[in-house]
């Protein structure tokens, strides 16, 4: 009995497996994503071969036929998917609200608000070819991702009406990506808990700040944390922009001294006093200052005296955007005076700042809220950013993480 039974068992297990696998593979075969049997869908996914992008659309407003034509085309699409835009980040909350009030025919899909640049790029890659609401039309990513995204063919070019007033150093000549705002790193300190607020990087090493300092993100992948580490090294190195090794060494010292906590500082933990000292972009810190004030918590912001760093974020339209006209409408809004001033309201410096100031369109009260500093601010190039980001994210765990994990 057992011999016959064993054959039957294997026989049917095999048939069952092939049968169901075939059923699953069939849809892919029908739609010709791949032309090979079961193993191929996996292979295609591994090779990372993206489907060919749809033909590029109009390069600017003129080619699109003017603003009215663009609005009409966007009306037909009736939807816009943005990704990784937290409400309190450079006042994207108001930006989204105002945009949707202006173009009320658009349904907004607010994807993954707390995602990082890598999540955004991944979303484009994995949704390439589908038209659902989870496919992002536009992205706002760290500076280095503009370049890599272009090289991977993930963006489609578009030059907004105000293209010429965007500085050349922060945009792609072909129009694939373009800087939108920038900020400067600073110390954000809960001054109710910390009586003597640190003024410079060297102060952070003092024993009075034991167990009080935390980064604003994961140093193995978050832009904000990586720039903080980098800035520490640059400042303590006399302003020389290196590959991040000096920063790692500084943070290793911080960890050894017991001043560094291995946790992510958030608005709640700063206000509570658990992570009273943190290093974040000024626009994030200033947004928290206002919120905390309302709750009766005092937060101080300090630009470290020996120097800090600035970081630019860039916008891009996905090459696979299912709703490219709505995407272009969004870009036109972001780079309009109204949009740029909204960034300013969120304490971030809009990329067209010089142009706006020259034309005198910035309200005086708004101009007064712009974070200003006299300390030396490092402005790294693309190559430097790539090198330091890779170096810091790769070596943090070995150089510093091991000191923090007990």
């Amino acid at each position: 009995m057992s011999k016959i039974a064993k054959l039957s068992r294997r026989h049917f297990l095999g048939l069952a497996a092939v049968g169901t696998a075939g059923l699953i593979a069939a849809p892919q075969l029908t739609f010709a994503q791949t032309a090979a049997p079961t193993a191929a869908p996996t292979a295609a996914a591994t090779a990372g071969a993206l489907p060919p992008a749809p033909a590029a659309g109009p390069i600017d407003l003129k080619a699109a036929g003017g603003m009215d034509a663009l609005v009409a085309a966007a009306k037909k699409e009736a939807e816009l998917s943005t990704i990784a835009l937290p409400n309190s980040w450079a006042d994207y909350g108001d930006m989204k609200k105002q945009f949707l009030a202006k173009y009320s025919f658009l349904k907004h899909n607010d994807l993954n608000p707390d995602g990082g640049s890598g999540d955004e790029i991944q979303a484009i890659k994995d949704n390439a070819g589908n038209k659902g609401p989870q496919n992002p039309d536009v992205v706002d990513v760290g500076f280095t991702w503009g370049d890599t995204g272009k090289k991977a063919g993930l963006f489609q070019p578009y030059k907004v009406a105000t293209w010429d007033s965007i500085p050349d150093s922060v945009k792609d000549a072909d129009g694939n990506w373009y800087g939108d705002y920038y900020g400067t790193l600073l110390f954000e300190v809960n001054s109710d808990v910390v009586s003597k607020v640190p003024q410079d990087w060297a102060d952070l090493l003092k024993p009075e700040y034991k167990g009080q300092i935390a980064l604003g993100g994961d140093p193995t992948k978050a832009n904000q944390a990586i720039y903080a580490i980098w800035a520490a090294g640059i400042a303590t190195n006399g302003g020389k922009i290196d590959d991040g090794t000096a920063g790692l060494a500084f943070f290793a010292q911080l960890a050894k001294a017991g001043n560094l906590l291995p946790t992510i500082a958030q608005d709640a933990t700063i206000a509570k006093g658990e992570t009273p000292i943190t290093l974040r972009w000024d626009y994030n810190a200033l947004a928290n200052v206002a919120t905390s004030k309302a709750a009766g918590v005092n937060i101080a912001t300090v630009y470290p005296t020996s120097g800090t760093i600035a970081g630019v974020y860039v916008q891009a339209i996905s090459a696979y955007a299912p709703r490219p006209n709505a995407a272009r409408l969004w870009m036109e809004y972001l780079y309009s005076d109204e949009g740029q001033l909204t960034f300013l309201k969120g304490h971030a410096t809009p990329i067209r700042f010089d142009d706006l100031k020259k034309r005198g369109v910035i309200p005086a009260e708004l101009l007064a809220t712009l974070p200003k500093t006299d300390v030396k601010v490092a402005l790294p190039t693309l190559e430097q950013i790539n090198a330091a980001s890779t170096n810091i994210s790769k070596n943090w765990s070995t150089m510093v993480g091991s000191l923090l994990s007990k």
Binding site: L111, N112, A295
Partner: protein, 257 residues
Amino acid sequence: MRRASFWSWLWLALGLTYFGVPLLATFLFSVQANRGLISFDAYASVLSAPDFARSFLFSFRTALLTILISAVLLVPTAYWVHLRLPRFRLVIEFFTLLPFVIPPVVLGYSLIRAYNGTGLTDSSEGVYIIMLGAYVMLSFPYMYRAIDTGLTTINVRTLTEAGQSLGASWLTILFRIIFPNIAGALLNGAFITFAIVMGEFTIASLLSQPTLGPYMATLGSHAIYEPSALAVLSFLLTWASIILIQRIGRGKPIAAR
């Protein structure tokens, strides 16, 4: 056996302390939105936000569907494995534990890619089906373990034989004999599944579905007291829902001891 010993009360007391104190700490923090006063401002701002009820109900419906599909898939399978395919048990247990090691982000992206050509990913409704499938997968470890434990304590073979000797068909045995006897275990598995679906964020966010998870994340991120208020609220609401399911589940006779 209804004598409650000292030890029972002790374990209960310890358990309640361990579970209660962190919740209490969260609650205490959430009412500090107005310095110096006990205030429920944070709760007001959470509840008054639009679409809170809508997201909650959307997640609620999704959770119930998940439990249903999961139970329909797993109860016959676990029963069959106990009865006829004991060697297959390990294979199934391995598969039911796999959802733990696949990071939800990876699961989400892989599913989108897998179904990219099928048209399922082109609409919100199609993507909902994918999300439902993912949630049923996520519930497998708990549902299967609960059902398996339930089946282990009842004598499956004997019950089946007795049922067969009384002339019952397989379906009758499954629904009128096995099911009522493991209903208690199944219900416990359902509770966990319910909580998982209500709180799930990553996959819902990747698939752009209006569930409670992404909604709460958008509301709470970068706010100070709202996240804690949200945590307490969602805990209480989920608990209330589970008690509701418990009450409804009591309608069927459960073999109580």
